[in-house]
Symmetry: D2
Subunit: 144 residues, 4 copies
């Protein structure tokens, strides 16, 4: 195939300011899949002293974005859900592994498992993507 | 009533490192409700140059956490979902308004609308909370 | 307004074989809202002797379909989620009340509360709709 | 192992009035998995002449219930979501295949693909289960 999903995903990651700010690293990429990591910093904790759900979501969302854009055409998130299965303490190195569950027309469904170093699942994420005709912009109106 | 939901929520917000790091401000609080704001910074953008879904989730999640903990007993997020309705550009001041949809036993459902300055909805979030017997910790096992 | 949402929704309900089969009655309708009822029959029970989640979903989904189609253009369900808050016994008369949470471009979000006779919430449903260019059909391909 | 998941699941199916009423057949069962089938009847159609979302949900939910109860302890549905990917016409023989995505403490996450005869995915379902101390009943209060 002429499309190089690995190189394409690394370019996406290199141009992602939010991933850099959070300290998200891209580990592996491919057609419809991606794996990223992040180490939980003290400023990522919530009122209970455990990792904020928004950080777990952001990590899973990064893996999802890379996986759903790996095919080439610009895809955006239409919706997502997350289940929090276990609390995560500071200093934990988390992995998020995204796989493609289904693709039909412009719609795609991607599952992301967020894993602790011992391989146990701390969160499960499911993202819904939609391929656009053209890149989205701040003044575009309906993103979905 | 002896429980002061407003003061309690402000104490929660003051002890939330992640909210401070993101620049989230608590605007109003009450029994089962909360409103927070955030201005989209350049490091919150995704590969498309619009606000990252993880930031919209984190803002909504903050409002949800304050609302579900406003009653006093410690509540944690069990699950959440979000629908992204419109892209958001840098510099936008967002508001997230959380309201209580249902509460039954230890379970609660909270809806959060994320709003642009013109009042239009850019994202809709629904969070599921669960009241704990005791505060959660990193070594607690099942958070749910 | 020339569009009569009430009459339109009653026509939709009269032409809905599944609603008739389940014994769903349309109580009220309007722009972006609908209320339906159903009495739990013995053949709607699950292995635990309580009302099957699929029946609660179907009742909420009926209210959602009427509410999202009340504006005139043909809308279909793209996705939905449901939280089960309390078990329901046989003979219970349930009400499902659908309201419009957000509408943007072709996308809509509708919330449906499923209520016991005493007004307590037994399930909360959120549906995502999408307006089509033309009516869907079995050979249409992508429904979303 | 002394627990026979296959025999246990067949007993559950045999005592499920709703599955019998819908015409759901149990094809295979095992620890954390189940496959069921249903043929779309005319009374399962919606206002558009395609299979009602509530029927697709009920079929997926049946597979989910069998899979999450296959381990022995009584588990109930706490929540579920479904994405509708393609319309389904009358007479279609559908298959729903449930697999276990994660289990932690009393919580479980199960994914169910609903498939057309050609193997294409028409809906994706994710169910959240919770193991109970004792069987649920109509007067039990909080099911979750």
């Amino acid at each position: 195939m002429s499309h190089d999903a690995v190189a394409h995903t690394h370019r996406l990651h290199d141009g992602d300011p939010h991933a850099a700010w959070l300290g998200i690293t891209l580990v592996t990429a491919g057609e419809g899949r991606a794996e990223v990591t992040l180490t939980v910093a003290d400023h990522m904790l919530n009122v209970h002293g455990t990792c904020h759900g928004g950080v777990l979501f952001s990590l899973a969302d990064a893996a999802f974005q890379y996986a759903c854009n790996s095919h080439g055409p610009v895809a955006v998130a239409a919706a997502a859900d997350i289940d929090f299965l276990a609390p995560v303490g500071p200093g934990t190195r988390l992995r998020a592994v995204a796989t493609e569950r289904a693709r039909r027309g412009r719609s795609g469904i991607y599952d992301v498992a967020v894993l602790a170093p011992d391989g146990s699942v701390v969160a499960e994420f499911r993202g819904r993507s939609r391929v656009l005709d053209r890149p989205p912009g701040p003044a575009d109106g309906d993103r979905r």
